[in-house]
Every structure is written in C-alpha cells, then in structure tokens.
Amino acid sequence: VLELIPAQAAVILCLGDRTHLDSLPHVPGAIRCTIAPDEELYVGPITIRHEILAVATGHLGATEPAGLVVDQTDGWAAWTITGPHREYVLPRLAAFKLPAARPAMVQGVVAQVAGKILLQPSAIHVLVRAPVAHHLRERIFEACRDLDPRLGAPVPISLEVTLAAAGTREEGHP
C-alpha cells in the first residue's frame, strides 16, 4: 500500500550572506535546508508558519541588513508519501540516486518538474511548485499503479526528525 497525502507546509525562503544564513536558528518542528549559496529554506507544518517567519525575520533583521525573508508558502505544494512501498516511488520518477541516510534533503527533477525532496525515516515529502501539484499526483498514481496508491486527506506536514536536529543537513544537487 502506498499513501499519498497532500501536506500543508509552511515554506519560508531566507536570502542573505552565507555566514548569517548558517546561524539561522532552529525552529522546533521545522527543518532548514540549504538550497543555494545565498538561500536557505525553512519547511514546517503550516501551523507554525508565522512562528518560522518571525524567527527568520528577527534573526536576519538583526544580523543581515541586506537579508530578505519571503513567505513562499502559497507557491509550493507538498506531497507526503508513506506506506511500506514509499521507497519504490522516486526511482520511477527521478533520475538521481537518493542518499541512503535519513533524514536528508535533495533537490532535482521529479516527474519532469523541479522538486525538493525531504527524506525521513518513515516518510518522503516532495515539494513542487503549486501550479504543477496536480501533475505530480497524477504521475505518482500512473507510475505506481501496481503499488495500490491511495490519496489521503490533507494534513499539516509532519517532520519527525529535523535535519538540523540530526546534524546531517545535506546540500542538494545544483
């Protein structure tokens, strides 16, 4: 069984000098990913969207006058893939090798669209741009029809082990 769940995720983009981005504080329940030399992305449950925004804005406001914090929650769609067959999904849709370690984050093309993948011990979260959210859902159902995929009800994204807490933040592919 494979379950695909629309995950409600807060996505906060921080731009600035790397030194200041590296010192961005950890927000409990959220993860922070390096997506470009001058960009850091917070992802967390939608319920703590404003908390993340406040922490990021407060930190960069104090340390990096030229920094910028942009709430991009509306621009991303997150899908959580769970179930015993979850590890079979991405090898059908992504042309890159996933790291064996969990948690981890990688960036790359998934089902022909740009995606950010959060690999966790018991779930895989895939974030794509909102205009192609339906495309990813359709492709997972097409490519994994033999895995009996089912669509779950939307819930706030659950990141049970954060990258920052685990100390294994991984930079994605360029």
């Binding site: 090898p91 059908r92 022909q112 909102a130 205009p131 339906h134």
Partner: protein, 799 residues
Amino acid sequence: VGAVLWHLRGLLRVGFYYKMLKRGRSWLLVEPLIRRMTGIGSVPRNAAPRPRERLYHFPELCVIGGGVAGLSAALAGAERGVTVIVAEEGGIGEKIPPGMVRRRVDELHAQLRTHENVTVLENGTAIGIYEGPLVPVVGPDALHLVQPSRVVVATGASERHPVFPGNDLVGVWLGRGAARLAGAHKLDPGSEIVYVASTEESLDHLELLRTSGVHVAAVVVPDALSSGVAGGVRQIRNGEVVAALGRTRVRGALIESPTGAERVRCDGIVLSLGLTPRAGLLRQAPEVEVVGAGDVVDPGCGLAEAEAAGREAGATVSYQKKLVPVARASGSPPSGVAREGVVCLCEDVRACEMDTAWREGFQSTELLKRYTTATMGPCQGAMCHDHLRTFVKDRSGSPAWSGPTTARPPARPVLLEDLAAGVRTAIEHRTGLHERHEGLNARMEWAGAWKRPDNYGDVSGEYSAVRHAVSIMDIGTLGKYYIAGPDATEFLDRVYPCSVRGLKEGRLRYTPALNEAGYVFDESLICSLGSKGYFLTFTSSGAGPAEAWLREWAREWGSNVYIVNQTATLGTINLAGPRARELLARLTEDPVDPDSFPYTNGREIEVAGVPCLALRVGFVGELSYELHHPALRGPELWDALMERGTDLGIRSHGLDALKLLRLEKGHIIVGQDTDFDSSPAKLGLEWAIKMTKTEFIGKPALERMSHLRLQRRLAAIRFDGRVAPVEGAQLFREGEVVGYLTSSRHSPVLGYSVALGWLARNGGDFPDEVVAMDPQHGSMPGRVVTRAFYDPEGARVRA
C-alpha cells in the same frame, strides 16, 4: 511480379532505387508497389501507444547478458555484497540448447536467486551503453535506465553464417539454432541433413541432433575433430560447403574437399563454423568502467574459461581500460567472401552487390556499409560485420580500409514508445483559480505551459463587460518577481532601457526587455516598493527565459541582488472596466480614488480581507487594477469580486476577449506581433527607451541601428467592414507583397476591423494603404492609422 523480378535480379543491383527511381515522379508511382511487395505495410493510424513508465536503477554493477560469463560476473559481484542488475534479452537460458552449458546456466541462475542484492531483468534488451555509464534496458513493461558504477558486457557470440550461393535458402541452419530446435522444441531441422562441424561445441550439437532422430547424410569435418564423430555417420574430411542447391529451399549441398567436389542430397544444411563476437555494445561503450567477459572477447572459449572471466570481471572493483574483443573468431577463420550468396541477411545484400559497390568506388567498410546498408539491419552486423571487413580486406589488401565500422546506439531496434516511456510532452501548469474556471465551464486552452480560459462561452458578453461595466480575468500566469538586495536599483537600471533609478516608491513603469542585439524579447512592468526593492512582471510564456536572462546578468556583473521568483506564490486577478473602481471601493477601506491611486501607480491594499499589491495599468484600455495576492487566497478574492460585482454586471473574461481588447488599443503581444529581430523602433516603442542613459542592455546595438534606415515596422491597420482579414494574411501594395498581418479582429465598439501587421518600405516610403489577401474573402483594402484605435488619448485608462 515477384517471380518476374527474381529473374531480373541481375539488373536490380545495389543502388538501383537511388539511380533509377529517385527522380521525377517515378518514385511516387513505384513506392507503394515496393512497400506492398516487401511487406513494409502502412503505419497504423489508430494505434494507441501503450502507457510505458521508466525506472531508474543505481546498482554498483550492471551485467549485460545472462549466459555463463554474465551470470558468473553477477554472482561474483553479489558475493562481494554490491548491488547487481543483470539484463538478459530473453529468459535466462531459454536460448541455450539442452546440454552442459544450459545446466551450468541453470545452476548459476539458481545461486543468483539466493542473493537479495541481485535484480535480473529477463526479456530486457540493453540498447546501448552511454557515457556515465548509462545502460537503457527495454523491458516488457518499462524502460529501465540503469546507471551503474561498472558494466560487464557478456553478450556472447554468434555462429558465423558463411557466404555461398544459396546460403539464404530455407533449410540452411546454424548449429545452435538447429540444436535448440531439436533439443528444446522437438522439431527437426530437416529429414536428412548435411552437418558442417568445426568446433568441439558443434560435435555436441551433432550428437544432440542424431539422438533426436535427425538423419545425417554426411558430416563435413576437419581431421582434428573427426574422431569425435559417432561411428556410422559418413564423414567428408576437410571439406567445405560451396553451394546450397535448390530454388526456394535446400535440395542438396555442393561440397568441395581434397578428394573433389560432390553433390549430397539433403533438405537441411547445418553449419557450425565457429563464432564471431556480438560486440556491438562493447564497441560503442565508453572507455572506462566497462569490460567484456566470455565469448564476446574470447569467442569459442570453454565453459570454465567463460566462468573464470565472468567471476574476475564481477569481482574487480574498477576497470580502467575497456577490454575490446580479440580480433579473431573461433573455428575456421573466414576464408574470404564468395562471389555469390547473401552477405547481410537482414538487409538482403548480396555478394555481387558488394562487388558492384566496390567497383563504383565505395572502397572501405564505412562507405560500403552506408551505400549497401549491409550491417545496418536489426541485428546490427552481428552476422555480417566480419564478412564486410573480410570483403574489404580481400579487395584492398589494406587493414586501414577494413577496420570495424562505428557502433552506435541503439544496438537493437527500439520502439518510439519505449524511448518516450515516462515522459509527458506537455506538463500543464494551473493557477490557483483553475477550479473556478472549470466551475464556470471555461473553455481552457494552452498558453505556453499554462492552461488558461480562452472564454466562458460568450466572448461578446465578456468583451462588453470590460468595455461597458466591469470584468475580472485570471492573469496569475504572469511571471512575477521580487528584486531586492543592496544592488537592486543599480542592477535594474543597468538591465532595462528605462530609468529605474528615478522610479519613486509606488510608481510603476512599462519597459521592453532587450537582448544584447537590441531586440525586444519580452516586456516588464516594474513597480518600486521603496526599501523593499522592486516588484517585476514578465509575460506568461516568456518568464522562464527572462528570469534566466536576469540571473545571467546579475552573475556577470557580480551584483549583490536577490531575484525571487514569486510566480507560483502570487496569484493575479485583473479587475477592469469603467466600473472597476466602484467595485474595488466596495471591498477595500484603502483609498482608491484617482488622486490617491492614479494610473501607473502601485499600492499595497487589502481587498475583501486579502492583502494585495494593486497595480493600475491599462492593457485592455480601461480603468484596470492588477491585484497580486497570495495564491492560496485567490478563490476567496475571486468569489468576493464576483459576488459584490453582480449588480454592476460583472463577468469573467478569457484570452479571446483579451486579444481583441488589447488590439483595439494597439498593444502588442510579444511573440505574436514581434519577430526575433524586432527592435523598439520597429515596434513603435521608442518612447519606452531612454537613450540618454549611460548604459542598458542593447544600447550599443540601438545606437548603431539609429544610423540605419528602418526597413520594416509594425503598423496599425484599419479595415472597414464587419469581417476582419485572417491573421497571417499577406499585405500587398500595387501588386507587391509588402508585409503580413500578425493580429486581426473585428471591433464591435469601433464598427470596423483592427489589425497589426509588419510592413516593408514600398518605393521608398512605408505604404499608407494596403490590400490584405484573405483566402476566404479575397482582397480587403486597409488603411494604416495611428497606433491606438480605441481611446487614443488614454482618457479611459487614466480615469
């Protein structure tokens, strides 16, 4: 017809089609006939492609070939604990006749099954080895893209098929095929056969045929092997089959031996003359991390040798140099290519045709291959590549011209649907208002990567709502960006031909985006957000390249600037029409009167509780507000506007109405009305270019062009009458073509048709009158007019 052509075959030499039929109309006449006779048939028009998926694999080791060497390599890798994928064209062992080899293959296969780190792709055809290495394997249900660290090629060898007269007759068999036929399928290759043996393996096959009940009329065998032939079978020592006798099937064999020539009556000739490597994949592979094992590099090697080679290849950690096939074949060496007989069975190339081609000057393997198509059939030279090389070597006497031909993927014929597995040619982008459009029964159309409402079933009503009342349109597809950072102002000022430095907070400016050649490739609205930077839009379909263009210049100049793509994050609704302000005022407490919020200004306001960046623009020629809002709140905003605008006559409008509305204003659509070399001057956009600026992209080119006389320009053209000429119609002046239309519509509000079109100079000046040639309506006279047909003073947009 076939029988007639058979007798005329001497005339139908290689290149016959090219020389005789590929001229004039004759090919049109004979092509259908040739297709019918050769069984090529016609392409099915109603066949639906199978939905295929692709699977990506990242094993340590990929083994191509499921024979003894391949399975041994896989086993050695598996025992080392690495992940292994084995690709076998058929089922494992299914093509191997019963015997010692088959037993060993079955044993190895059974051992492999105990290893969880091994995946066997049966019925999976490896079609190439690309840099990476990357091995695409076409399976029955999916295309497997295998990206291993190392590749072992164990594709084995094919039995050599000699060239002699009659070698393509029904009844001529290769040893392995005949043995499999008799051993596995219990079918006889003939009731009475001549068997030609030249290897140890061939003696096993001979014995299998004999014990299966096949009557052997004679065995042609070298002295060295004669002791291995069972007693009671007639032997012809050191002989050679020089011809198969018969018209359409074998009736006998002509055999030459030291004792003379003799005819042996038979209905089957089984040839077991040794092996040539099936090295196509190995030859096309990159130099490193690919190695061959078994027959493919050592044709005719024994079982133990193949197994040892496979194990060594599978256990090796890294291959620094590709091991290429040895330049020999097992069994009797090729003794030249006979003057008669078929060289390439796939492409039906005869030895005499090779001769003709040689005499015509095609005197190397590569030239002969291309001219005769030998080796270019489905087996890709597995059977005939050696013949081709031997032929050239015999004729030229030079190894330089008889080298192997270049092997390229695909190594096997591949279906287009396999190549396209898992690929969707069009990925539909949807705005956050997609469901609203579906709810209104919108007719959705592609617009670049987006699916957008073309209309909601009443284009005329939608148009009227904009011109006479109020309307909304989903324009969330626009490219939307924040440009911020310490260098934002300087960066944009260097990029754009307008003055960004002088743009006050809350003001916005239209500007074309120019490339270095000074040509318009997109257009932008820039709104200053004060200390927060700038908000920028691009056209819906041009946003991607335009963003790349911005980023490239930022990198080139080392600008400390952030370019934040907000296209998906923000939705946009264009609220337009003479009653737009009235509706907006109902939904916001922020001031929207003309003094507080004038034309070409932007304000952050709240509309129906939704925070918006509102921009006063006028693409449709009416009072308009672009409401850029958080995308997830788009439906909420849309609903509020529709609900509170009901009594004002609000309707949503689609692209169809938009195209007319903007055309009445003479506004261009980049891509539809522009060409690859459209400078601002050609488009009438000089007003948007500030040539007094020190620098902007395209300025040097524009300065050079300013000294040249304009040869073409985009003009607004009026056509009287209710019917507009078709878009694309050619424009004439005094019988000369002077241009064509890019946009054309009938304007209900103006009572005539409006158009934009490219015009060239005609006798020194640009024409002021033209005739459009419409395929349906004939000649339609038109008049070149000032750009804006509707509200030329712009009073309505500034209201």
